[in-house]
Subunit: 314 residues, 2 copies
C-alpha cells in the first residue's frame, strides 16, 4: 500500500508518494495557483494522478494534505491560511470528491512536520517531543504518547501564541507578548533593524549599505559571528527568548526532545550552544529534554501528510 | 478493597481511607512532626493502622502519599519539599518498609489534586484538563488522555515555572518572569504592598493601619470589591497575568477545562469573570477551555493520593 502526502505552500505544492516503510517513491511539484486557491483540489487530484501512474487500483491507502494555517476541530475546513488565500474553505471535502477510493485527511503543516520527525527524524523512538519552527512565525507541533497531539478539544496547538513576554510587543494576532514576537526568525531580523537604526556605526549598517530590507535572520547571524556588537546584542536577546520558550515547554510537558527547525536552525552550534545553556538554567529539572536540530527540512510537511492516516488509526 | 491516601503538609498530615467508589470512609489528622521529618514514615504507618482498624487483612490495596515538593523520576525520593524539611529523602521506600502487603506510591500534591478533580471534581469526564492552584506559589497538575500527566521524562510538571513575563521579576527559583511571580496569590499581595507604599492615601493603607503584613490576597480582593483604585489596579494586573497563563495553556494543550484552586479562587465571579473575558481575547481558538473553580478543596491531595494506584494501572 502507498500513501500520498501534499504540502500546500504559498509558492508551490509538493506531492510525494510513500511506500509502507515511508520511503519516498515518487514526487511531483507544481506552482501554487496564486489568487485562485479554489483550483487547489483539481490540481492536487492531477498531481496524485501523476504520483499513482502505474499503481494498481486500490493501492493508494490515503491522501494527506498539509496547509500552513488553522483548521477547524472536525479537520474539514481551513479556517485561515493567509499565504494561500483560504478562508473558511472546505478543503478536505473538495479534495475528497476527487478520490472515491482513498480517505483524504487534513492537517496543519507544523503539526505534520512534528509527525514526520517522529517517524523518520529527530523524534524517532520518543513518546513526547516538541518541534519549534523558526520562520516568519513561530510554528510548532507536539508529540504525546507517541502520537501527534491534536489538542484536547481538537484545536491543534499554537505554541507560537503562548505568552512569554507579557510586558513586550504586540503580536500579529493582537495579543501582547506571544512567543512568536520574540522567537520567530523574523523577530531576530526586526530587532536587528531597530538596533541598526539606533546605532549607525554597526557592521549591520556597513554591510547593508543602509538598506534595512537586506536584514534577515541569516544576515544577523553572519554579523554576530563576525563579532558585531549590535548583532550580538540582538542575537543574545533572541537566545534568551528561545531558551525561555524551551524551558516553558520543559516545565509544562517535560518532553524528551525539543527540535528546532526552519532556516535559522541551520546556524548550528552558534545557535544551539547558547540555547541549550540558557535552557538548562531555566529548566526546573536536572535531567530534561535534549535540544536538537530538526532533521527533515522541506519535505517534513509532505511526509507528515502521508503519515496522517496511520497516526489517526492509533 | 480500600485505598489510603495521605496528604503530608507543612502543618499537618491528613489521612483518608477510601472505598472502591472513592467514598471517604474514615479519616485521621495528625500534626506534622516539625523539624523531625524522618519520623513521618512511622507516623503514617500509625495513622494507617487507625484507618484500617477492623479491616480484613489484604483489604488495603494501596497507600498513596502526596507531598508539596519535587519528586525524582523514579518516584522514590522527595528531592525537595522545603515546607516539610525533606531533601533527597527516600520517602517511598521508608514508608513501604512498614507496609508489607500494600504498594506505597508517591506523588506531588498539586498533581494529585488534579487527579482527584478528574475522579470526583471539576474534571469528571474530561480527557484533557489543567488545575492551577493559586497559593503561596502557583501549583498545577495536568490531565492528558484521561490520566495524570507525569511528564514525558517522568519529571512531572511545574506550570508555575513556565515563563510568562520575561521582562518581569525574578522568581524564587532564580529565573526571571515565571508565571508564579505574577499568578500566585502571594503575587497579588506583594503587588498590593508595593502599591500601598507608593500611594499612601489608599483604602489598603487605611484598613491596614499602615501595617503591610496585614495585606494578603483576600484583603486585596476585599479592597478591590470596595472600589479602592490601588487594589483594583493590582487586581486587574493579576487577572491580566492569570488569563495569560490560561491562554498559554489553551494555545499549547487546548484542554477542555481549566480549574482554579486555592483560597483566592473563593473570590468567585469577581475573579472568574475578568479571567474568562481576558482569556477569551488571548486564546487562539473560538471554542476553548471552560475556566471553572476547583471543587475539592483541602481534601484533594488526600483523595488524589488514594487514586494513584488505580491511575498507575491505566
Amino acid at each position: 500500500m502507498f500513501n500520498a502526502g501534499f504540502d500546500i505552500g504559498g509558492s508551490h505544492i509538493a506531492g510525494g508518494l510513500y511506500d509502507a516503510r515511508c520511503n519516498l517513491v515518487r514526487r511531483v511539484d507544481e506552482p501554487f495557483p496564486q489568487g485562485r486557491p479554489e483550483e487547489v483540489p483539481a490540481l492536487v487530484a492531477r498531481m496524485a494522478g501523476e504520483l499513482c501512474e502505474g499503481l494498481a487500483r486500490g493501492a493508494l491507502e490515503s491522501v494527506g494534505l498539509a496547509v500552513p494555517g488553522s483548521i477547524d476541530r472536525a479537520r474539514e475546513r481551513v479556517i485561515n491560511a493567509y499565504n494561500l488565500g483560504f478562508h473558511d474553505f472546505p478543503l478536505r471535502a473538495r479534495v475528497q470528491e476527487r478520490f472515491p477510493d482513498a480517505p483524504v485527511l487534513l492537517g496543519n503543516d507544523a503539526d505534520l512536520a512534528a509527525l514526520a520527525e517522529l517517524h523518520a527524524g529527530a523524534f524517532i523512538g520518543a513518546q513526547c517531543a516538541v518541534l519549534l519552527t523558526l520562520g516568519t512565525g513561530l510554528g510548532g507541533g507536539i508529540i504525546i504518547n507517541g502520537r501527534l497531539w491534536r489538542g484536547g478539544m481538537g484545536n491543534g496547538c499554537e505554541i507560537g501564541h503562548t505568552i512569554l513576554d507579557m510586558s513586550g510587543e504586540i503580536c500579529t494576532c493582537g495579543v501582547r507578548g506571544c512567543a512568536e514576537t520574540r522567537c520567530a526568525a523574523s523577530a531576530l531580523a526586526r530587532e536587528a533593524r531597530a538596533a541598526a537604526r539606533a546605532r549607525p556605526g554597526t557592521l549591520i549598517n556597513e554591510r547593508t549599505g543602509g538598506d534595512p530590507e537586506k536584514i534577515d535572520a541569516k544576515f544577523v547571524v553572519d554579523c554576530a559571528r563576525a563579532g558585531d556588537a549590535a548583532a550580538l546584542f540582538v542575537f543574545d536577546r533572541y537566545t534568551d527568548a528561545l531558551s525561555s520558550a524551551a524551558a516553558s515547554l520543559i516545565n509544562t510537558l517535560d518532553p524528551e526532545v525539543i527540535a528546532l527547525g526552519g532556516g535559522l536552525s541551520g546556524a548550528g552550534e552558534f545557535l544551539f550552544a547558547p540555547v541549550r545553556e540558557k535552557t538548562r538554567k531555566k529548566s526546573f529539572y536536572r535531567e530534561h529534554a535534549r535540544i536538537v536540530p530538526a532533521v527533515l527540512g522541506n519535505d517534513a510537511g509532505m511526509l507528515g501528510a502521508a503519515l496522517l492516516y496511520d497516526d489517526d488509526k492509533k
